[in-house]
Each structure stands twice: as structure tokens, then as C-alpha cells.
Symmetry: C2
Subunit: 123 residues, 2 copies
């Protein structure tokens, strides 16, 4: 996995995708599967982290508010302040599920869980 | 090419990538190659449009401010208000060039060209 340039203020979506995600204990949680974008404002709404499964089967996805991810040069991946137990209860969806992106009730639950300001709030 | 859901307020970066770009005359200009993101604010800085070349050789890239792209359901692609002649003079880079992302002089030139407010301005 190519390391991200930590000093760069601007990074490409294709390089963020595939980057590993760890918790603060250094445990590997998953990797960035995709980014969800708010079309109107052009802001990243969520980084979708994938974990578990084999060759995509049984894989589950966690939408993480962008602000919860900090890049760590030492590990060469993103770090989120989340134990594996906390992750178990986090909002997630399966491979064949179609999350209600743009639905404020669904999305508010994600932001409440991570105590992160919603992407539709003024920055 | 899968069509984007025009009604969705939130779309995935992986679906935006590969989407065709046309001008208002309906001429095909290129396709979305990647998205450049402002790490600090989580905003899309540019959509990078690729055009020309064959199997990536000779391909050129145009950074387009996100706000210049409008999705058109009829064509199933993005539309920018730009003639092919205007595109000829637009800021661009080659496959092996490393654009100065985050450099305000380089970036201001892009925003000036498209008369689009820079991504670092308050939204």
C-alpha cells in the first residue's frame, strides 16, 4: 500500500481508498472502501470503512464521519478513536444493503454515534 | 456506464469516477479520472478530468473546480460550460507530471480560468 503524503493538504480520492484504518491501540479495524460525497456542497459526508469477509463475501461497511479520521504517518493509515467493542455497535450495512444516504434520520444516528458534527452543519 | 442517481444528495466517489463529461453543445470532453480532496475541510477541491491518449499513454488531465460540473440525467454525464477551444487553453497536466496541489498560485490559476470560487473560500 502506497503511503499517503501527510504534508499534502490536497489528496486524491483514489489514494484514500484502500488505506488501512486502525484504532488508537494499533489494532487493524478495516480499510477505506469508498467515500460518500454531498453533491450540493462538495463535502465528504463519510468515509466508508470495510471490514471482515473474504473476497467481498460477508464484508460489512461502516460509514465514518470524515472528521473522525486522523492520518498517522508511523502506521501509514488512518486512526480512529474506537475500540473493537465500540465498533461492534456502530452503524453499519451489508454488501447488498442500500443505505439511506441523504436521509437525515439515518445519518443523524451515525453522527450521534461518533459525536461528530454532521456534514450538513455549517463548517 | 452506470448512471448516477440524480435525486440522491449523497453519491459515492467510486461512482463519480469514470463518469463522462460533456460540454453544453453535447460534445464529449473526457471523463472523471479522480477527485482531489482538501484534507482539512473535507471538501472536494477538484474533479480531475482525463481526455485524449490511448490506454493511458498521452492522456492529459484537467483539474475542474467541483462547482463547474452539473450532472445531466439525459446524457448520463456531467456537463461543463466549456467549448473544446476553451479547454485547449485550460490548466492541465500530463500523466507523469506532479501538479502542485495545495500551492495557492497554481490553484488560483485554475479558479481564475473557470471563474469559480476557490475551495478554500468560505462556503
Amino acid at each position: 500500500m502506497e503511503r499517503l503524503d501527510e504534508d499534502a493538504s490536497v489528496i486524491s480520492a483514489s489514494k484514500v481508498t484502500g488505506t488501512d484504518v486502525y484504532n488508537t491501540e494499533g489494532q487493524h479495524l478495516g480499510e477505506i472502501h469508498d467515500l460518500m460525497l454531498d453533491k450540493r456542497t462538495g463535502k465528504i459526508a463519510y468515509a466508508v470503512m470495510s471490514f471482515g469477509g473474504f473476497l467481498g463475501i460477508g464484508e460489512r461497511y461502516h460509514p465514518l464521519p470524515w472528521a473522525t479520521l486522523k492520518y498517522d504517518t508511523r502506521q501509514g493509515g488512518y486512526v480512529v478513536g474506537l475500540t473493537k467493542q465500540q465498533l461492534e455497535g456502530a452503524p453499519r450495512f451489508g454488501r447488498d444493503e442500500n443505505p439511506a444516504w441523504g436521509d437525515r434520520t439515518f445519518e443523524q444516528r451515525i453522527h450521534d454515534y461518533y459525536r461528530a458534527p454532521p456534514y450538513w452543519a455549517a463548517s
